[in-house]
Amino acid sequence: MTLAPNTSSLVGNGVTARVEEGQAGRSVLKVIATPFRAVPRSLSITLGFMVWIAVIGGWFALTYSGAVKEMFLPRPESVLSTTISMALDGSLWEHVFASVQVVLIGFVLSSIVAVPLGLTMGTYRIVQAVLEPLVNFIRYLPVTSFVPLFILWIGIGIEQRVAVIVFGVFFQQLVMIADSARSVQRDLVNAAYTLGTKRGDTVFHIVFPATLPSVLDVLRVTMGWAWTYLVVAELVAARSGLGYISLKAMRGFQVDVIFMAIAMIGILGLCTDQLFRGIRRLVAPWAN
């Protein structure tokens, strides 16, 4: 009898303690150290912002303290003023347009073949048997090693830069899209058959819609690579474009222009990335 109230008060204390813990939020340290646990949105935005501040702050510190010569690292405001003046006289847009044009042509050409072919390759073992040995060989060849060959074959026009991008992106797209087609749940296809889907319609009616979200992810990722190959192509042979002005700026020791070109590519990459995320949300709302 005497024990009972004691026990209940002990239990009571335990419960209150736990509730308090929950309300105050466990120590912040415990929250952020818990794997996969969500952190407050405000915190993640603040942190992301602070990293940028730190990087730009470090940039100011390095240039203004004189630790690094301005010939190698320009001051932030000189990059900004160069960007503004080139934007105003239109030369920036000319180069941006040239680069975007090459990336888009190369990327679209590659994608319109890689998507249907990759889906077919992942669906039909016979197509896989024919293509895979060759594709896997080519896929590991460094694109840069083909640049001299392309110049020899195609010259130094826009076609050459497009070819570098297509070559760099196409085989990767093909393999990744075939992989996502292969991972389509077999019973999904079986269910489609029992509902009257013909064998020949499987790719279009089942495999394509089922893999649409992952195909868009593949396109988003390979778009980033396309920008990389663009710069490779423009560094070697071009008369315009962001890679070309970087190379020209290096010869004239205009480091601020190089910085501007890099930043522009970053911004454009970020835009296309967001664009693909938007398209995915729009055409595959079920996969979010």
């Binding site: 269910a191 029992t194 509902l195 009257g196 089922a210 079920w286």
Partner: protein, 267 residues
């Protein structure tokens, strides 16, 4: 000629399975999964196959659906030998197989659409079957927004909306919790009462088998063979209370015995 057949064909067919053999692999590594299975399901019958896991009962269903190729024997559905999958044999799978990119209504509409039925008529069909499974309010949801039980209800509606001659069900409630499973069994009994399709249903749950079936076929494990046929003969409509009835328990005991013997044989 074909169109004429379609309109005069009965909506519920028989299933004839004659000496069906299924062997995986070749040579020494060959595994005999099904060894000379024969039985006949009459039109409008609810036939349940019960057996231990790995006895080949699901494979048998896949053979009837035409999704797997048999090694030997003959399968005839509605007078037509089975050579490949077709919309005359609807199937509900154990795994969730709703098309995730289609809404609930579009999933149910899928079969009729493939058949070329006009949109107005399709809408009537979809409405009817969604109402039948109690999911009319969820017509515009995506499968990812549904619970497991709801997904299987849509899968049943999708199979029936296609108006197959027979309905094949491969442990459709196997992944559900027991409460949901019971309500699904009730729902299936009610729907079957309306449609009177020929049903071939596979399960390892003995209660489920007796509760649903006109006839239970008990299968033995590797190689799979039909061990015994039990006519249930309980009156319909049936309720969950039947599981307490003496003759229900007697049948359950008999099936348990049969499956137990099978286990003993293995060891």
């Amino acid at each position: 000629m074909d169109a004429l057949n379609l309109t005069t064909k009965p909506k519920s067919s028989d299933i004839g399975i004659d000496n069906v053999v299924l062997r995986y692999g070749k040579g020494d590594n060959a595994v005999l999964a099904l060894d000379g299975i024969s039985f006949h399901v009459v039109p409008n019958e609810f036939c349940v196959i019960v057996g231990p896991s790995g006895c080949g009962k699901s494979s048998l269903l896949y053979l009837v659906a035409g999704l797997e190729e048999r090694t030997g024997g003959m399968i005839v559905v509605g007078g037509k030998p089975v050579t490949e999958p077709g919309p005359d044999r609807g199937m509900v799978f154990q795994a969730y197989t709703l098309f995730p990119w289609l809404t609930v209504a579009q999933n149910v509409e899928y079969g009729p659409k493939r058949k070329g039925i006009a949109p107005a008529e399709r809408r009537v069909i979809v409405e009817h079957f969604l109402h039948e499974v109690g999911l009319a309010k969820f017509a515009n949801h995506y499968p990812s927004q549904l619970s497991g039980g709801m997904k299987q209800r849509v899968a049943i509606a999708r199979a029936l909306a296609n108006d197959p001659d027979v309905l094949l069900m491969d442990e459709p409630f196997g992944a559900l919790d027991s409460q949901t499973r019971h309500s699904m069994q009730k729902l299936l009994l009610r729907i079957w009462d309306h449609s009177k399709k020929t049903v071939l249903f596979v399960t390892h749950d003995i209660d489920e088998a007796i509760l649903l079936a006109d006839r239970v076929l008990v299968m033995s494990g590797r190689p799979g063979q039909i061990k015994k046929e039990i006519r249930v003969g309980l009156p319909r409509p049936r309720s969950m209370d039947l599981v307490m009835e003496p003759n229900f328990i007697a049948m359950k005991r008999e099936i348990l015995e049969l499956l137990k013997n099978d286990e003993d044989d293995e060891h």
